[in-house]
Each structure stands twice: as structure tokens, then as C-alpha cells.
């Protein structure tokens, strides 16, 4: 403990003598010089330069010197401290370099060895591609509407302008829910398309209305490589003032750009759906061969079967009768709808040749697609 003191005590300040300081310096430099690794150097630093090192303690005694002697002693001790500090720093650099050369090399491991301690999870491509399809529409400002899979016939057919007993109903092989007795129909079906969600949306949401409805659908189809009785559709519905087929084409183009790549041509051809008038089917230029397979000498294309075009969707202007059934004034509003198979999109986009692969739940299938499409 030191304090300003005018009483000169030569014994107490012997540590500040030049000889003593030289000795401390010599000891410190010896210890630093013989430290063979960073741990020994750290020990030497603590012993000779730490809070309890003799040199540090000596430094604290400067205050005990008469004022006239302080400058001299301070200068001496400062010199010694600088020498030791420099030696520590130099030795530190040497030893670190040495460690980097020797020790880190010794510690090298085989970083290529696996650490696969957990199972790889994955999401189903119908989920992930479905999300991408949804996102394309959501980014255009559509909202996602949902509906039940076991659905009233009225929503699935009648409200969509499928007249009773019209052969149009036969276009979609329907699975019916059993009625209360054999003579009575239930009026309930497994929905054959996602279009009944259009009706639900129009009945419950205000216009203008922009919705996209993804979901599972059912038809009484035999299961084969390209047909599944359980499948997934997504469709968009826009109802607003002044919508035309030109807007429909705009939506289709934006959609194909986002999903399959920019600049692919699309083509509409007349088709028939009771709930749209006019109706069309949509083909896009094959995103794989871009039509090259149809040219003389072109490589055959598996994706479009060398047709150059791939049918991707059905679409049309919402039939005014459908608007009427939903209480929307067809003189003021018009709409368009555009629907496609999610399963089919997965098949086209990812080269799935057998739809059964999407249904069997083989872990290899989903794992191949990972977490995002």
C-alpha cells in the first residue's frame, strides 16, 4: 500500500533500484524466451507482467519516493516495462505462428465425414408446388378461399350452371354421398372440382373479389398413370367491373411467367365449362423444348410429347348465370376464372411421369423434393 509520503525509507524502495530492475528484466526475458507454448507464455506474462508481478509492485512504490527521485525512477521502470512488453508481444506472435504451423495441423480432422444423425424430413410436392401456385396469385393480390371436400350438389353443380340432368354433369364422374334411403339422393357429393369454392366466395365476400382456391377433389376415375380419383386443383376467380378476356389472358400470362419462366407463349382454344362463357382451355409453349421438338429433325420431347404445347388449365369468363345465382349484378360486374391441376403442374414442372408416385407416400418421392418447391 503506498501513499504520498515525504518520509524517505530506502529499504522500502529498494525495488526501484537500477540493479533490481535489471534483474527483474533479465528474469522476465528469460521466462518469456523459454516459454514453449502459449500457455507457458501466459504463465510468464502473469508472473512478470501481471498485477502481482514484482515489477508491477515496484511500480506502485514510485509514490513512496521523494518527489525529486520520482521522475528518474519512473523513467527507469518505464523502460524496463516497455522491454518486457515488447518481448511478450514478440514471443506471442512467434508462438501463435508456431501453433498455427504445428498444433492446428495436428488437430486437423476429416471434415468430409458425415454427421447424419437425424432423418431427412420433406414436404410433399403437391403441398409445396401448391404453395408456390398460391403465392403467385397472392402476389397479384388474390386471397386464398377454402371450402369443404364433401359438398352440397347445389354448390358443386347447380350454382355453377350445370343444369339438372344435363350431360355436362357426366363430364365429371361424380362420387355421391349415400342418401337416407335408396329412393332418395343425399344432394351431397365429393366435390369434383374446386369451383364450388367460387360460389362460396361470391356468396360471402364483397365484390370486387379476387380469390384463389386450392384443394383436393374427387372423381370416380380409374387410377392409372395420368388419372387419379383423388387429385388437387387450384383456381382463381376475379369479379370486378369491366373485366374482359384480355384481363384473363393477362392473369394467365403472369401466372405462366411466374411458374414456368418468362416469355412462354400461351394459347387459348374454345372449350366448354358450364360455369364460364366463353370458355377456353389454356396451353403453354413447352417450357422444356420450347417447340423445338416439333421442328424437322428436332429432338423428341418427353414433356410435351413433341407437340410443342402443353395443356395446363381451363378458363373462361364467369357465366352471368353464375353471378346471378350468387346475387351479383351481371350488368355491373363481370368475372373470369382460371383453374388447373396441382398434381398436373407437379407432373409438368418436375417431370413426374406416373401420378401414382404422388399418392403412394414413398418417402423417396417427397424427399427428392425437399422442403420447398
Amino acid at each position: 500500500m503506498s501513499a504520498p509520503n515525504n518520509t524517505y525509507d530506502p529499504v522500502e524502495v529498494a525495488a526501484l533500484s537500477p540493479e533490481e530492475l535489471q534483474r527483474m528484466q533479465a528474469e522476465a526475458l528469460a521466462a518469456i524466451g523459454t516459454a514453449s507454448d502459449l500457455a507457458e507464455l501466459k504463465t510468464a506474462r502473469i508472473a512478470h507482467f501481471g498485477d502481482r508481478a514484482p515489477l508491477t509492485l515496484a511500480n506502485a512504490e514510485i509514490g513512496a519516493l521523494p518527489p525529486a527521485a520520482r521522475a528518474e525512477a519512473g523513467k527507469r521502470i518505464g523502460t524496463v516495462r516497455a522491454v518486457i512488453k515488447q518481448a511478450l508481444s514478440d514471443r506471442q506472435a512467434e508462438l501463435e505462428a508456431d501453433r498455427d504451423r504445428r498444433v492446428l495441423v495436428d488437430e486437423a480432422v476429416d471434415v468430409t465425414s458425415p454427421w447424419d444423425r437425424h432423418l431427412d424430413g420433406a414436404r410433399h410436392p403437391i403441398t409445396t408446388v401448391g404453395e408456390r401456385l398460391i403465392d403467385v396469385f397472392v402476389n397479384m393480390g388474390y386471397e386464398v378461399a377454402e371450402g369443404p371436400e364433401v359438398e352440397a350438389e347445389w354448390y358443386n353443380f347447380d350454382a355453377l350452371n350445370f343444369p339438372p340432368d344435363h350431360p355436362a354433369r357426366e363430364m365429371q364422374d361424380t362420387i355421391f354421398v349415400e342418401g337416407p334411403d335408396p329412393s332418395q339422393r343425399s344432394g351431397v357429393v365429393l366435390r369434383t372440382h374446386t369451383s364450388p369454392v367460387q360460389i362460396r366466395a361470391m356468396l360471402t365476400r364483397p365484390v370486387p373479389l379476387y380469390v384463389v382456391s386450392p384443394g383436393r377433389c374427387y372423381r370416380s376415375d380409374a387410377l392409372d398413370a395420368t388419372h387419379s380419383p383423388v387429385f388437387h386443383q387450384i383456381e382463381c376467380l376475379a369479379v370486378d367491373e369491366g373485366l374482359t378476356m384480355a384481363d384473363l389472358r393477362g392473369a394467365i400470362t403472369a401466372f405462366v411467367d411466374a411458374m414456368f419462366g418468362e416469355g412462354l407463349q400461351t394459347r387459348l382454344r374454345p372449350d366448354y365449362f358450364p360455369f364460364t362463357e366463353p370458355s377456353a382451355d389454356v396451353s403453354m409453349e413447352c417450357h422444356v423444348c420450347r417447340g423445338a421438338s416439333t421442328k424437322p429433325g428436332g429432338e423428341p420431347c418427353r414433356v410435351c410429347r413433341s407437340q410443342g404445347w402443353i395443356e395446363i388449365a381451363g378458363c373462361g369468363m364467369v357465366n352471368p348465370r353464375v353471378l346471378v345465382a350468387c346475387g351479383i349484378d351481371p350488368d355491373r360486374y363481370s368475372g373470369f376464372a382460371f383453374g388447373l391441376g396441382i398434381d398436373r403442374s407437379v407432373m409438368i414442372r418436375h417431370g413426374v411421369s406416373d401420378i401414382r408416385d404422388t399418392l403412394e407416400g414413398d418417402v423417396r418421392f417427397s424427399r427428392a423434393f425437399g422442403m420447398e418447391a
Binding site: 424430413g121 386464398v144 352440397a152 344435363h166 355421391f176 382454344r269 353471378l323 346475387g327 351479383i328 414413398d362
Partner: protein, 888 residues
């Protein structure tokens, strides 16, 4: 619908050779572009060469074989007669036949050579229709008309080189199920003249009603509005069908039967009008069209005796039903090889009536397909006239010129459409001239309002024709807007010009302005519709529920689960395998009337059985460490559900109570998420052993889902099938309102369930109701940022001994709540780090060791403060669960 090019070109004035591949391809594309999708283009006759017309000069009957064999001498007129073996016997000396001499090639690349057979050298063969791919008739060789020129190439003589278009006709386009309809579309597409086949081959006086013809009456006007009958008398029933007709029928996929049937089929294909011929000798009394009476039966031409439904539409005579109207004739009045006098029917039946009858009897015919899609009601008079004329001419009979008829007046449909409505629909300015021209091309008449120019009373055979309208006059001022027009969509033109459009009789599908707009737009070409940039729709993005669903899916995916989509169909056998009790609500399932498989007639009420099957499929494919998850709806009928859903009106929006009726008939359809696990979840490797999936992993998967939802939740022991009664957790979520909702179950499966589904021992599973979780999570307020005090924590460990039966969760909750009651010390975390049972503690007890981590918001906690808080926690645990500090 299969139609040969040659038939179409007879009525559409297009010059196109079947050998012009590019031209044929273009025609197919044009048909598709106008809405008649060509599914295939099949060249025919191109693969036949060297077949010539020959005459049979001499026949030697060979004996000693197990069937009659003829050795025939045939001449092609070149003086070099050939001898050929023939197995048919339907010809005589002098008949002309199609001869394939050595070197000729028949369909399928079948090359003819001279060969020895039946002990003779056969220099070629005499061809049957089937061998020339113009029919299915193998029963004999084809006898050609006597005037077939000897030595002529048969392919060019018969016009065999052709192209057959197979057209997929959509259900709205009944008119396109005929040469008439398709040729008309071609004529429009190519802008060439069209000859209406309904106008050709008619003799003068065809449109007169005659009292001498077999009498008819319509009893039920809702069943039939036109019924026309003609007679052919004294024809030779053995008359062969002309070769050209046979070939066309074959190209269209129709079998050749007899002259009478072939002629009616031919005209059905050409005009689209179904026709039926009765044997007059088998008719008794006047023909009446009516509905069936109770108990009536009819044996149809397919030899099925059908019990009739009171709704069935019948053709009857005094003996009772003789034909299912527009669907199939009856056996009793069928024309046969002895029928000399025929009664020919052409009618127009209720499309819906025919559709229902066809479905009811599961009997679809060429006739019913057309009637339910819409047949031109003005055709019966003409089509029957052509049939009678053709039959009389071919069979040597006579056909009285007149007809007998019964008819109900039909109001012609007139559609009021704003002149620029097609423009508004398409987003293209077509202009009035184009709209008028296109509508006229499809056969529409465009005229003034009926109030100004009332339609003349028209004869049944005539179209209603309002006064024709001059387009320029109409542009001047819009005076043609009907003052009486109803509020009809698409009617109001910005410029005030409304068109009154009467569609042609062959287009019953045109009923609305939108239908007319489509005609204009499709004929102008969909390819000419511009692409307009998407306008921003201003949506609010995904809902919280939709985002949560994605987050949950990712959570399980990142935790090693693979998503699958299992079959949603199930059966009572699955419920048995799940060990469900007889009154378990999961046994109440939606039953399908026409399931894909009779073995699975129900909709799933739980995801698990389908997932079990997917799991075993993966095991069967050599995977032993499998963790699967699935999200999907399950279907849970409500006990109080309405038995049926009504079919509501569609001419206005339903009322709220009507929609409620629909909802009442539907089952609850909650979204579920399930997971099943077997094998290792931690894999063995050079780092050490693996770890098999246990009940904890299934429960943890459920916890992962709930944590993702941010809901507070509680895990409790439960006994619930199909889980192991001692290893089943029920998970409850806490709602914002303080309610507790069951979210689902998790744990190890019951050993009996494992055996029943053939699963590996100790398979574990969880199933949660996402609808419950979403509903609860939807109400959560946004997360509020926590305080993050920088003062150091104080950590204390405690070991508590409790009886085995005390759930750990209860101890944990008591500890947490004990601290909460002890002032401003925060229990930042509470973690169970050991469970011990054994010699060190009393039997029937377990020791639970916890680390409690305390922190204060405003100061460094002293050891005393931490101990006080710990003691409070322990005291609460002691009070609630009887916990005793270990070693105390």
C-alpha cells in the same frame, strides 16, 4: 365423333385432298380453334394397293374339308383369269368382287402372294369388308354392284383414300354430332359456301301432312314436341346397303346391319336427327307418345327386358310400349329380313327427359346422346322425308310424299343483346358489322323488337324469322332497342343499340347474350384477344390460419418427418382394427353411394389408418426408419345432420336460411395433422448408438405443432384408442378466453392395433385437430416483446420425490406457480434434468430433479432471495403433489 373428310367436303365447298398432309393438319387445327377439338387424324385407305374389281367366272366347290371351300376362277377383264381359294359362300357366278391378286397389299402391310392351300394354288384372295378395313363383316366376301368396272383399282373406285377426324364434341354442342354441324363450322372457318344437307334430296310435296300415313298423337307435351311419321311400302328387305354408304358408316365407326337400319344411321350421322324404323306389320293401332304406366315392361333391341319407370318416355301403340323414346327401340316391332312395309319415326323429345331415362336404364345410345345434347326440332320433317325417299329408291318400294305428325308449338327463343356486348366480354372492339356477320354465319336471325314486327305464325317446318335488319339503319339512333326488354344481363349497350337475336333451330345451346358473345369471339379467334396487364387486386395476403398451416408443415419437415398423402377412403374394418368401441363417434362416417371400391365405402374419420398403410408400404420397400406426417380433412357427420341437402334455385342468390339447409346436411370437416413413427429417430453411426422412436417422440411431434402455434397447452395422461392405455397423452390448448380445448392425442399405439395393421412393435403416432388449433391461435394477440434484464441469473437445483402416479407436469406446474406467488423474482426457466427411481428412494416413488433459473428485472439476486424463491416453489409442489425434497 368420327367423320371422314370426304363426307364433310360434300357440304362445305373446300377443295382438299386426303393426301395433302399439311392441308389436313390445317383443317384439324381450324376445327380445334373453333371449338371442335380434333383428338386424332387418321388417314385411311392409304395402305391398300393393287386390289382390283373382278368378276367370278366359275366356282368349284371343294369337299373333304371341315368347312365349305370354293376354288374360284375370277376375271379382271384382261384375259388372264386367276384362280383363288375362297372360304366364303355368299356369292354366285357373275358377281363382281374385290380381288387382291399377288402383289396387292392390304391394311396393316399384309402383302398378298400366290400360295398353295387346300391342295390348290391360290393366286390371291377375294376380300371381305373387314379385310379392307371398311367394316367388321367377316361373314362373307364383299359383293360389289354389278356395274363396278372390271379391272378398276378398287381403292379409287370406292373412294377408300380418306382421312377420318375424331372430334371430341363438348356436351353443349349437340349440333356438332353430325356432318351437318361440322361442315357448317368448316364452311365458316374457310369462308366458303355451305350446303345444308337438310335441304338436299327432298322431293316436292315433302312438307305436306297426309291423312294416309300411319296416325300419331302426343299425349304428354312435356315429353315430346314434334313427332313425324312416314311410310315406305313394298320395299325388298334383302336389298343390300350401297357400298358407298357402308364405307361411310364404317369410317364413322358404325356397324352395317340392314338397309333400313343403315339408312337411318347414315342420316343420323349426316343430319344429327335420330330416326327409327318400325315394321308396320307389327304395329297395332295409332302411335302415341306418352309416359310409362305402372308395371309396364319393354324388351329393347339389346334383348334386355326393362321395367319402366312412370317418368320414362315411350312410343306406344295399342299393344303397349314399342320403343324407349329417343333411346332404343323394342324387339317386337324391330325391322327384320321380312319387313317390306316400314314406318319411320323422326321426333324431338325433351332433352332432360331422355337424359334421365338414359341414366335410369344405364342405356346410352347414339340417339340418346344427341337428344340430351339438343337436336334441331325442325329436322324431323326433313330427315324423315330423306329417309323415306332413300329407302324407297334403294329397296324398290314406294314412299307416299306426305307425313303424319303431332306437334306442340314451341316459342322461338329470342335473345336481347347489347350490340357491343361481345366487345365488352372480349376486351376487343369488334364493331357492329362483325358481330352481325358472325351471328348470321352461325345461323342467327337478327331483327327488330317483336313488338314492332310480330313474327308470322309459322308452320312447324319453318323457322321463326323476324324481319331482317339492315345494319347501317340500326346504327342510326338505336331505335331497335326493345321498349319491353326485360332486365336481362348483357342487354344494355353503351351506345344504346340492342340486338334481338333469334338463334337457329339447331342451336338450342344459344340462350343467353354470353352464348352469343362466345360465338362472335370464338369465330373471330381467341388468338386475337390481347393480353392486358394484371391490375392489382389489393388482397391482404395469407390469413393467420393459412400461415400457421405452412409453419406447422415446415416444423415437422425440419424435424425429420416426410409428408405423405394417403387415401381418404376407409371402411368399418379399419375402425375394428383401431379397436374403436361400438359407440365411438369415429365410427359414424360419411358413406358413399358409389365408392371407388366396395371395400372402402366410407370417408375417413381419422388420418391414422391411411397413414399406417403408407407406413407399411415404405417398410415393404426396404425402409425401416420412417417418420411420416400428413395433413388433410377428416369427415365427421353430425348426429343431428339433415338427411339431404336441397337443390336450391339458381335464378337469384339463396337466402341465408336456404344456405343453412345446405350446411346442415354436410358433415363437419376438420383439418387434421397426424404423424407416425417407427424405427430410429436418431441414427446410429461412428458417433455411437442410435435411438428408436418412442412414445416421447410422438408426443414431442404434437408439442412441436402446438409450440409453432404459440398457444399455451397442457399434456395429460389419457386412455384413448388406438393408443396404448398407459402411453397415451391428450393435448389441450388454452384459448384466449380461458377455455381449454382438446387438440388431440399422441403416444405409443395399442399392441392390438399394431398387430391388426401389421405395424412394427412400438410404433407411435399422434393426431391433432388443426382446425381447433387454428381457431384458438387465430385469436392470439401479437407477441409482446419480453423484458431482457441484464442482471445475472441465480440458478438452483432441487430434487423432489413424489409417488410414481404423480404426473411430472403437475410437479412442474406447481413449482412454476409457487415461484409466481413469491414476489418479484422471475422463474426464467425450469428444466427437468433427471428422473430417478431405485434403491436410493422409497419404492413406488420417483425422484424428479430440476434446475430453476431465477432472475430479477432490477437487481442482482442474492443467494438468499434465490433460495427463498426455490423454497416457495418446493412448498407449492409439496402442497399440491406431496413432493418431498430428496434427502430431506
Amino acid at each position: 365423333m368420327r367423320l371422314p373428310l370426304s363426307w364433310l367436303l360434300e357440304y362445305a365447298a373446300i377443295s382438299l385432298s386426303p393426301d395433302d398432309e399439311a392441308g389436313v393438319k390445317e383443317m384439324a387445327e381450324r376445327l380445334t380453334a373453333c371449338g371442335l377439338e380434333v383428338e386424332s387424324v387418321e388417314p385411311v385407305g392409304q395402305d391398300i394397293t393393287g386390289v382390283v374389281v373382278a368378276e367370278v367366272v366359275e366356282i368349284e366347290e371343294l369337299t373333304g374339308f371341315n368347312k365349305p371351300i370354293r376354288y374360284c376362277q375370277v376375271s379382271t377383264g384382261d384375259g388372264q383369269d386367276r384362280r383363288v381359294i375362297c372360304g366364303a359362300a355368299n356369292f354366285v357366278v357373275g358377281d363382281r368382287v374385290a380381288l387382291a391378286p399377288p402383289g396387292a397389299v392390304l391394311p396393316g402391310g399384309f402383302e398378298i402372294g400366290a400360295r398353295k392351300t387346300y391342295g390348290r394354288v391360290s393366286e390371291g384372295m377375294i376380300c371381305s369388308a373387314a379385310e379392307l378395313a371398311i367394316g367388321e363383316d367377316h361373314s362373307g366376301i364383299m359383293v360389289l354392284p354389278a356395274d363396278a368396272p372390271l379391272g378398276t383399282d378398287f381403292v379409287s373406285y370406292a373412294g377408300l383414300r380418306d382421312v377420318v377426324f375424331d372430334i371430341n364434341v363438348t356436351p353443349d354442342k349437340g349440333y356438332a354430332l353430325s356432318v351437318r354441324g361440322v361442315a357448317r363450322e368448316l364452311a365458316i372457318s374457310y369462308q366458303v359456301p355451305f350446303t345444308d344437307p337438310a335441304d338436299v334430296g327432298l322431293l316436292p310435296g315433302y312438307a305436306t301432312v297426309s291423312p294416309d300415313v300411319y296416325p300419331v298423337a302426343i299425349e304428354d307435351a312435356t315429353a315430346c314436341d314434334r313427332f313425324v311419321v312416314r311410310e315406305v311400302r313394298g320395299g325388298d328387305p334383302a336389298t343390300p346397303t350401297p357400298l358407298a354408304m357402308k364405307i361411310r358408316l364404317a369410317r364413322a365407326g358404325q356397324r352395317t346391319v340392314s338397309l333400313a337400319v343403315d339408312v337411318t344411321n347414315y342420316l343420323l350421322l349426316e343430319l344429327g336427327q335420330p330416326l327409327h324404323a318400325f315394321d308396320r306389320d307389327h304395329l297395332a293401332g295409332g302411335i302415341v307418345v306418352r309416359r310409362a304406366r305402372p308395371g309396364e315392361q319393354l324388351e329393347t333391341l339389346d334383348h334386355v327386358v326393362r321395367t319402366l319407370d312412370p317418368e320414362d318416355i315411350l312410343i306406344t301403340d295399342s299393344s303397349g310400349p314399342i320403343s324407349l323414346a329417343g333411346t332404343m327401340g323394342g324387339v317386337a316391332t324391330e325391322v327384320s329380313e321380312t319387313s317390306r312395309d316400314l314406318v319411320i319415326e323422326a321426333a324431338h323429345f325433351s332433352p332432360r327427359g331422355i337424359a334421365r331415362m338414359s341414366r335410369r336404364h344405364k342405356l346410352a345410345s347414339e340417339a340418346s346422346a344427341r337428344f340430351e345434347r339438343g337436336v334441331d326440332p325442325e329436322l324431323p320433317v326433313r330427315a324423315s322425308a330423306r329417309a323415306a325417299t332413300m329407302l324407297a329408291a334403294l329397296s324398290g318400294g314406294t314412299a307416299p310424299p306426305g307425313y303424319s305428325t303431332a306437334a306442340v308449338d314451341i316459342e322461338p327463343v329470342t335473345i336481347s343483346m347489347a350490340a357491343d356486348y361481345p366487345d365488352e366480354v372480349a376486351g376487343v372492339i369488334y364493331g357492329l358489322d362483325t358481330v352481325l356477320a358472325r351471328l348470321r354465319e352461325v345461323g342467327c336471325t337478327i331483327g327488330q323488337a317483336p313488338a314492332r314486327a310480330p313474327a308470322e305464325p309459322t308452320a312447324p317446318a319453318e323457322h321463326a324469322k323476324p324481319a331482317a335488319l339492315d345494319p347501317p339503319a340500326m346504327l342510326a339512333g338505336g331505335q331497335y332497342t326493345s321498349p319491353h326488354a326485360q332486365a336481362d344481363h348483357g342487354k344494355h349497350d353503351r351506345s344504346g343499340v340492342a340486338l334481338l337475336v333469334t338463334p337457329p333451330s339447331w342451336r338450342p345451346d344459344l340462350t343467353d347474350p354470353a352464348d352469343l358473345a362466345e360465338e362472335v369471339i370464338r369465330l373471330e379467334g381467341y388468338q386475337n384477344i390481347p393480353v392486358r396487364a394484371v391490375r392489382a387486386a389489393g388482397g391482404r395476403g395469407l390469413t393467420g390460419r393459412q400461415r400457421l398451416r405452412r409453419a406447422v408443415s415446415r416444423t415437422l419437415g425440419y424435424h425429420g418427418f416426410v409428408e405423405v398423402m394417403s387415401s381418404p377412403f376407409t371402411s368399418a374394418a379399419d375402425f375394428d382394427k383401431l379397436q374403436l368401441s361400438a359407440d365411438d363417434p369415429r365410427r359414424r362416417a360419411v358413406r358413399l353411394a358409389n365408392p371407388l371400391s366396395d371395400d372402402e365405402p366410407l370417408m375417413r374419420t381419422t388420418l391414422l389408418p391411411g397413414m399406417f398403410r403408407t407406413l407399411t408400404r415404405n417398410l415393404g420397400r426396404g425402409f425401416s426408419d420412417v417418420s411420416l406426417y400428413e395433413t388433410g380433412l377428416v369427415f365427421r357427420p353430425r348426429p343431428d345432420a339433415a338427411p339431404t341437402a336441397p337443390i336450391l334455385r339458381v335464378d337469384r342468390a339463396p337466402a341465408v336460411h336456404e344456405l343453412a339447409q345446405l350446411t346442415a346436411a354436410l358433415p363437419d370437416q376438420p383439418l387434421r395433422i397426424g404423424a407416425v413413427l417407427t424405427g430410429n429417430v436418431d441414427l446410429p453411426g461412428y458417433w455411437g448408438a442410435g435411438r428408436a422412436a418412442g412414445w416421447q417422440d410422438a408426443i414431442e411431434a404434437a408439442r412441436d405443432v402446438l409450440r409453432t402455434s404459440r398457444l399455451q397447452f397442457d399434456v395429460r395422461a389419457d386412455q384413448h384408442q388406438p393408443w396404448h392405455p398407459g402411453r397415451c397423452a391428450a393435448l389441450f390448448v388454452q384459448t384466449e378466453e380461458g377455455h381449454e380445448w382438446l387438440a388431440g392425442h399422441a403416444g405409443e399405439l395399442h399392441p392390438r392395433v399394431i398387430t391388426a395393421f401389421g405395424l412394427p412393435p412400438r410404433t407411435t403416432a399422434m393426431e391433432l385437430d388443426m382446425s381447433v388449433i387454428e381457431a384458438a391461435a387465430d385469436a392470439l394477440p401479437p407477441v409482446q416483446s419480453p423484458d431482457l434484464p441484464a442482471y445475472p441469473p441465480a440458478v438452483q437445483d432441487v430434487a423432489l420425490v413424489v409417488p410414481d402416479a404423480v404426473p411430472e407436469a403437475d410437479v412442474e406446474r406447481a413449482l412454476a406457480e409457487g415461484v409466481a406467488d413469491a414476489g418479484d423474482v422471475t422463474l426464467e426457466s425450469l428444466r427437468l434434468f433427471d428422473i430417478y427411481t431405485g434403491a436410493q428412494i422409497a419404492a413406488g416413488h420417483k425422484s424428479l430433479a430440476y434446475t430453476l433459473r431465477f432472475r430479477a428485472p432490477d437487481r442482482t439476486l442474492t443467494a438468499e432471495e434465490a433460495s427463498t424463491a426455490r423454497d416457495a416453489a418446493v412448498a407449492e409442489a409439496a402442497r399440491r403433489t406431496g413432493a418431498v425434497l430428496r434427502g430431506a
